[in-house]
Symmetry: C2
Subunit: 195 residues, 2 copies
């Protein structure tokens, strides 16, 4: 998606170790009008699949999921990282590895908010190793709901997550796919980011 | 605000210890069309104050802030709880006490995203003891930006936070103020929740 690629080139920053910082517009400061265009694009790609709920994970997925959900007219559910003892009743849980923070943590969602009738669209800001997305997929499968696809803003195409999730038969649509980052220069992959 | 009070009465649940659960529509599962009405109402109350940025705190404030920000046409910045080593450059920091999780933690925001020219509206889902809101106020004051007010979805009017923040001279507008919760029965305070 040209608009997102332009934002990455103009407002993103490449740091050592294949780290792309998009905190100026996507996951710390949030440009809600740009994000609304991303939401429209997710709707263009997934709008005909009978989505009943959008599932994301705290924290940076929440704003993107909420704005996207306005186009679908469905609620958002966000999985919480564990210190939230603040959930009562039955919960679904799975484990996620954060490579950024170098630790494992559990994610949980109240079982009341995912039912076998639900058709769930997964939304997140980044897909790299895919651990968070695999955790969300596990939560949905435990609930008996159907996954209709995964909408990702930025996929690191050179990392393992995209293939891992697609190998599960899930339709992953990434609005920008990065093929490589070298010496601060970003190359996009337009084949994986199919429109 | 009648719409929010109705949602609290119909879809909220009162638990032991003055705990009000609104996870069915506000802070775990999120009813984005209801939240859009809250955003409109925040705009009605604060729309003439030259807001340039909305500041909130992860995680449950983010979706509300993003949807509200669409009405103001300004970006959202969310303060992160500390394990985020993922912020580089100069940061503003302050300490918050979580009574729910019974611990202290630091919140941080990149100094790049709050400047002395900014006019900041604070947004959060709940105001009870006010610790998170006091932390946000400290971040804004460190940056030299101006606080134009605080928009809260649900204030526990019987707790200390509302008075503490108002005593700082900040205009706190809460869309629903709870006067008391007894035996599962909720009484709203329509005097504090001034329109």
């Amino acid at each position: 998606m040209q608009l997102l690629e332009n934002a990455i080139l103009e407002r993103g920053r490449v740091k050592d170790g294949d780290v792309l910082k998009v905190d100026a517009f996507l996951n710390h400061q949030m440009d809600v009008s740009l994000i609304n265009e991303l939401g429209k694009e997710f709707f263009r790609r997934f709008g005909d699949r009978g989505v009943t709920k959008i599932l994301t994970i705290e924290a940076s997925g929440i704003g993107i999921a909420c704005i996207t959900a306005q186009h679908f007219g469905v609620p958002v559910v966000f999985a919480k990282k564990t210190q939230s003892r603040n959930i009562d009743g039955e919960v679904l849980t799975s484990q996620v590895t954060s490579f950024t923070h170098q630790r494992n943590y559990d994610i949980i969602v109240s079982a009341r908010f995912l039912s076998p009738d639900d058709r769930v669209l997964l939304i997140d800001d980044f897909l790299a190793k895919g651990s968070a997305m695999l955790g969300l997929i596990s939560l949905v499968r435990q609930s008996g709901a159907t996954i209709v696809g995964a909408g990702i803003c930025i996929e690191k195409g050179f990392d393992v997550g995209g293939k891992a999730i697609r190998d599960l038969g899930i339709d992953v649509q990434s609005l920008a796919v990065i093929k490589e980052m070298r010496d601060g220069h970003i190359v996009f992959d337009h084949d994986t980011a199919a429109d």
